[in-house]
């Protein structure tokens, strides 16, 4: 009884499998059965078998491996059997998918309780667990859109989006170059640099700091994105106007965070620097800037997302015929929804990559900070 309670996901999956058995077949009657008896038996054997094994308690790595392989293999059989019969899945199909999902959940739960001694193993787990979660979002998306035959316009299945990405690499690359390499990078660098310089100035001149900081805080809460049409009007349709929007959007977070960071060095350390007779710039470079680094990187991280958003939204107001925002707004008009999703996927990957680079740079620079030392 205790075992069943421990693996309630397994118990539920088992019940769902039984319900699926009762409500067979997997596809509606008018589909010339694509699931052979052998495949069907294999799917059920995999799911029920894994559910039963989840009640026993073999060594954790073995259990995790079985829980990982079983449901995913079954899901793969289920989805690949769907090819050509979109929208014809029955209740049994979805019950089996749900059972597999519960088993995968159990797998994640087992993995979360593991504490590998090796450092590499821990990193692997930290990557694997979110990866399973992400994969299941895609699997459910694929199974529901194709199984229930949701119209392509509403929500294309991930496989179609993937095919579209593979099929139009050239267009996507041109868009990325226009939006990311020209507008975002230029705007990001100029915006962050000018925010930083003004922050140093404000640090030098107390009056400026007292006046600028409340205004900066206030502006951070404003919908700055609204200046996009004005910038397009001033700087034309090409990437310069997008870069201008990005500069304005990234300036204030950088300013506010850097000023806050420059105040982070402790009074004791500053006194020590004074007793060394170091002047303002020496104190700044050797003590206060390193102490401000966590704040500055916080701003850089916030800005990495803001910059992408600024550039893409600014393109809604007018662009040359290339660019991610342009592609999104025109392909929607032409109802090429898969292209829109492809563009979003690319934006997501670029955004995560951008963020990742900043995060890595942060680790390299602020290795001394408590949040990075681990433990």
């Amino acid at each position: 009884m205790n075992a069943i309670f421990r693996s309630w996901q397994g118990a539920l999956a088992f019940l769902l499998c039984l319900a699926a058995l009762i409500s067979l077949p997997l596809l509606t009657a008018d589909a010339p059965s694509p699931f052979s008896i052998g495949t069907l038996a294999l799917i059920f054997a995999l799911t029920i078998g894994t559910a039963l094994i989840s009640f026993t308690s073999p060594p954790a790595p073995l259990l995790a491996a079985i829980l990982f392989v079983g449901p995913h293999l079954a899901t793969w059989f289920l989805i690949s059997g769907l090819a050509g019969y979109e929208g014809k899945a029955t209740m049994a199909f979805f019950l089996l998918i749900a059972a597999c999902w519960l088993l995968a959940w159990r797998c994640v739960a087992v993995l979360s309780d593991m504490h590998p001694k090796l450092k590499g193993g821990d990193t692997f787990l930290r990557l694997l667990i979110p990866a399973i979660f992400g994969a299941w979002i895609l699997i459910l998306w694929e199974a529901i859109t194709r199984g229930a035959g949701i119209p392509f316009i509403l929500l294309p299945p991930p496989s179609a989006i993937g095919a579209r990405i593979a099929g139009s690499v050239a267009t996507l690359w041109a868009d990325v170059q226009q939006t990311i390499f020209k507008a975002v990078l230029f705007g990001y660098i100029v915006g962050c640099a000018s925010g930083f310089i003004v922050a140093i100035l404000a640090d030098r001149i107390a009056f400026l700091r007292r006046g600028l900081l409340p205004i900066g805080n206030m502006v951070s809460a404003l919908p700055i994105i609204g200046v996009a049409p004005i910038m397009v009007m001033w700087f034309g349709f090409d990437w310069q106007s997008k870069a201008a929007v990005v500069i304005i959007m990234t300036f204030f977070p950088m300013l506010v965070n850097t000023v806050a960071g420059l105040g982070a060095a402790g009074a004791m350390e500053q006194d020590l620097m004074r007793s060394y007779a170091s002047d303002y710039w020496q104190t700044l470079i050797k003590l206060r800037l390193p102490a401000a680094m966590p704040f500055i990187f916080n701003a850089l991280k916030i800005n990495s997302t803001l910059a992408l958003i600024g550039a893409i939204v600014a393109e809604f107001f007018g662009t040359p015929i290339v660019g991610m925002g342009f592609r999104i707004s025109t392909e929607i008009g032409r109802m090429n929804v898969d292209m829109v999703w492809a563009e979003i996927a690319v934006a997501a990957v670029v955004g995560s990559f951008f963020y990742g680079v900043v995060a890595l740079a942060e680790r390299a620079t602020t290795f001394w900070h408590p949040s990075n030392r681990g433990g």
Binding site: R210, G211, P214, S220, I225, A228, V313, F316, S329, I332
Partner: protein, 295 residues
């Protein structure tokens, strides 16, 4: 004495900087509008003194950069002098944006709290969901704003809800992250005390974790409400929404009504300031009601 300090250290610098901004704005307006005005004068064969010329650069109907007083008078006119039901009234447009902001913010806050409670209590969720929540914010969510609206329009969901959903998407993140931090903020020693009282998980949650998380909740709600306003405005941009601050911006950019664009921007900013202030005031009231002492 203290009032004097407040005046010298707080108000004076801010006012000075604001004054400088307005002055720079005027100068910039004169310079940016000059080429067009010179062109206009040459065609109309008007010769004028420099003073006259400057005055006319500051009163063009469609200037490159409208002067502050033009924007101010436009805002005043469209806010106070029009009936609030008129579709030129800024109050009307702000109301439309405000309503979707409010719905989106409410949904986003609830969703964020729900996710945070899940993450704090279910270990599998903590390890699998948290990285994705952070990753979801590296995605330029606003890029899917037009997508969401078109998709929902295809299933006959139009009007308030699609915009509110975008606001929800933008506002759940700060709340979720802040609440996870807040719900975990009780220290081990306090949790141990609850343990010695033989408190159940639910009791620990309601009597220790929730009160400890309230300051975090309000801090993140301030960020979230600003984010959901941005979401609502961008949600009005793409598919020709008929009303709202975003549609006002778009219409202004189509017809080069620069003064209208600036007026809409001001309206959005005022709205943002009011919303953030409201959250701040509520935070203070709740803090006092919970027995917080003024710092």
């Amino acid at each position: 004495m203290q009032q004097e300090r407040l005046l010298q250290h707080r108000i004076l610098p801010v006012v000075t900087i604001l004054f400088i901004i307005v002055a720079v704005w005027y100068v910039a307006a004169v310079f940016m509008n000059t080429p067009f005005q010179r062109d206009l004068d040459r065609r109309g064969n008007v010769t004028s003194t420099p003073m006259d010329f400057i005055e006319r650069t500051l009163s063009q109907p469609k200037p490159v950069l409208p002067a502050p007083h033009q924007v101010a008078s436009n805002v005043f006119e469209n806010t106070f002098l029009r009936r609030v039901t008129s579709n030129r009234s800024l109050v009307y447009h702000s109301w439309v944006t405000l309503s979707s902001t409010a719905v989106g913010f409410t949904l986003g806050t609830l969703l964020g709290i729900l996710i945070a409670v899940g993450i704090v209590h279910v270990k599998a969720l903590d390890r699998s969901l948290m990285p994705w929540i952070i990753a979801s914010q590296t995605v330029p969510i606003l890029a899917i704003a037009p997508m969401v609206i078109v998709v929902l329009a295809a299933v006959n969901v139009t009007g308030l809800i699609p915009k509110a959903l975008i606001s929800t998407y933008l506002s759940f993140f700060p709340v979720a992250v802040g609440m996870v931090k807040g719900l975990r903020s009780p220290e081990l020693i306090q949790l141990d005390l609850m343990c010695t009282y033989h408190a159940s998980a639910a009791q620990t949650f309601w009597k220790l974790r929730v009160p400890a998380s309230i300051p975090f909740l309000f801090t993140s709600m301030k960020v979230a409400i600003a984010a959901s306003l941005v979401g609502a405005i961008v949600g009005e941009l793409p598919t020709g929404a008929v009303a709202g601050i975003g549609s006002k911006l778009l219409a202004g950019s189509y017809y080069s009504q620069t003064i209208d664009i600036w007026a809409a921007l001001i309206a959005g900013s005022v709205l943002a300031a009011i919303l953030v202030t409201i959250v701040g005031v509520v935070a203070k009231i709740v803090d006092l009601a919970m027995g917080g002492r003024p710092a």
